[in-house]
Symmetry: C2
């Protein structure tokens, strides 16, 4: 059997551990030189395949590939670029297949969320239609934890650990200051459609009275009066109130709360900043002094406080993807299966791309407390193992020592393709 090349691309928003998946994939592929020639990576994700900008990862040393395991961001670049239906974007799918053919690519690995699983599935169909022998394997990744079938998504556990740690630490701070200064702290976190990251903040509150006291989920329409009553009660009881809010919080009419806040100097509505909207509402109605924080990219790039569980799973799905491809399993993805909660045990299973593509996993209602303002014990049981374990990166000059790869491109074989 002749060795054929592989193509790997990262897709969508990056995570603290997506490079650990790349590491698992490349290290595993290097163990099968008789089957897999070179691993090419798409420069800036799938765009790199369309533009024939293929990074030759065989030029990177084993040591540098190993350093991917502790480096956040997307080492080869990622992109937000969704290939739509075969009918609409047929030329693009055909171009992908042509590029794969020109570079003798027999394995396609696409590392992303719902959209990417859909793309990988379509690529499998198109390759078959065009007569290119290709195994197409998806690899799950998303901080939003909204992928179907897999018990959890690589990337989520590390965000969860970051936001819970940050909330705990800020809670200690504001508790110290509450008597004469700040009574309210609001942390705005990601998760536009699903409240998984907001829920993870709740892990910091292990005992009565601990921060965060209130969580505002995108799944629960914001009820200002009930919320303000809870805030006032919390301040009366504990002296302060710490709140986590999802960027995707909506009012009873379905309007994003982020849209209700401020306008810039030119009168444009300012998107983002729902944390400030909530904090200002409390200030206006209850008079408490507030601080608020917007974690933004810090939460999904915080490799320094990554979850070891998440890291191991991210590596494992990358390694498993190669094994699935070598076993000839086409149009599938590795998924994480939970074998038990405590002690936590997991393994890697296999799912069909078609079962995952374009399905968004919501938070179950039973994970949100009946009043809508916190998580339930069932939610805690689900989330707890995902943040377990530390995976401190190496430090140099007092800062995490992350790798930058050479990222050399392969010579192009084809004429340019208009995007």
């Amino acid at each position: 059997m002749t060795a054929r090349n592989a193509f790997y691309a990262q897709s969508g928003g990056v995570t603290a551990v997506i490079n650990a998946t790349a590491c698992g994939l490349i290290e595993t592929a290097r163990r099968y030189p008789e089957r897999i020639g070179k691993v090419f990576a798409g420069r800036d994700g799938i765009l790199g395949a369309l533009t024939e900008e293929l990074i030759d990862t065989s030029l990177e040393s084993d040591a540098d590939i190993a350093r991917l395991r502790h480096t956040p961001g997307g080492a080869f670049g990622s992109c937000r670029y969704k290939l739509k239906s075969l009918d609409e974007h047929r030329a693009q799918y055909e171009r992908l297949i042509e590029v794969f053919r020109a570079h003798d690519i027999g394995y396609f690995f696409y590392n992303g969320g719902n959209d990417s699983m859909d793309t990988a599935w379509k690529v499998a169909q198109m390759a078959e239609a065009m007569g290119l022998p290709l195994v197409s394997v998806g690899i799950p990744k998303t901080v939003d934890n909204d992928l179907a079938v897999t018990d959890n998504s690589p990337g989520f556990g590390s965000v969860a650990k970051y936001v819970a740690t940050s909330m705990r630490e800020a809670g200690y701070d504001v508790a110290s200051m509450a008597r004469t200064s700040t009574q309210i702290f609001v942390l705005e976190v990601m998760g536009r459609h699903a409240g998984w990251i907001t829920a993870a903040c709740g892990l910091a509150a292990e005992a009565e009275g601990e921060a965060p006291h209130l969580l505002l989920f995108p799944e629960i329409p914001f009820a200002p009066e009930a919320f303000l009553a809870r805030v006032a009660e919390c301040v009366a009881r504990h002296g302060y109130c710490a709140i986590a809010v999802s960027e995707g919080l909506r009012d009873a009419t379905g309007r994003l709360m982020a849209d209700m806040g401020s306008r810039d100097a030119f009168g444009h509505a300012q998107l983002g900043g729902v944390g400030q909207v909530i904090a200002q509402l409390i200030k206006d109605r209850l008079g408490y002094k507030y601080h608020w924080a917007l974690a933004d990219y810090l939460q999904r790039s915080a490799r320094h406080i990554a979850s070891r569980t998440d890291l191991e799973q991210a590596y494992a799905v990358g390694a498993k993807a190669v094994e699935l491809a070598l076993a000839g399993q086409n149009a599938v993805l590795p998924v994480i299966r939970r074998l038990s909660d405590a002690p936590y045990a997991w393994d890697i299973g296999v799912a069909a791309l078609g079962d995952v593509a374009n399905v968004e996993k919501q938070m179950p209602r039973e994970f949100i407390r009946s009043d809508g303002f916190h998580i339930t014990p069932a939610c805690r049981r689900y989330l707890q193992p995902l943040i377990e374990g530390e995976a401190i990166p190496p430090f140099r000059n007092g800062l995490p020592d992350y790798v930058r790869l050479k990222n050399r491109l392969v010579a192009k074989q084809l004429p340019p393709f208009p995007l």
Copy 2:
């Protein structure tokens, strides 16, 4: 010689390591039972002395006191409450002395910034005037690094390590996304009057092209056209631009840039959010998509990424304060002295409270690059050792395991005092 009690209070904004100072102080005091009876801590800082709310730290176990070393926030509470001149607030100073007399307090330790050093100095004077034998010792603390005489301030090194780490990580993220999504990342940091924290962000850029590319200091009036030209040049060259901005950035007329931004739904100017003002300016003028983050309390409570150097210095000034007091040195504070840059060497010296009180240490102009948009090699030499070394706290259930003390109050001896 009879043992007398000590009083310790935390003042102003807390830090990731102010409790390490408390730990150094209490552990050292416990080694001299023949000289120091109990260490009382002010509940919510100096307010606890005025209201006679004295926490009896002798009821805390050695193990719990040791855990203060890795716990952020202020373990006994802090406050923003400035005692003014002796003339204006004479009754309050007299009250302090009465409380100290009632509880046989012979040592006063005040852990804070410029204002607190002034208060400690006045307390020393008032005790002498009122015939109470009292040794008053200040202990430096501030994330702003703006205390005079001391080479650096405990608390700053850990913020510096946090913001530089966060900037590096977010830089890796945005670099991955720049081709099709976000080109601009703005991180807003603390430091209303002095740019030390903004400067610390600059440590993340160790080589040409690394994030952050531009720094906006409170010391340098914001020049929009020059800034926008730099941003455009940076995006053209590197594909993206990462920027750190001080909350205290001002325009050429001295107006806070934070005031220039948005108004809430009621038309009130929104303070804070200069990061968004800057990001939106770039979007409006250059069209780049942005993300921004507001670190707020996260930066000063991030004990999980504290600097070991900072931690050791914070502990050392607490321990040294006790030794100074036992040596009868009144109206002084321990200060950090730099003996060499590389290898970094430091020790603890002594300064008079009067030389530190109410003096604000600015960034030297030679620490800011001539164009005003980054730090100089001299600044890097100064800052680098302050973030060196890690001091990872213990973890439990995947999160940092911080202590909550019992904080039991001593029985009051005096009638209430109206604040």
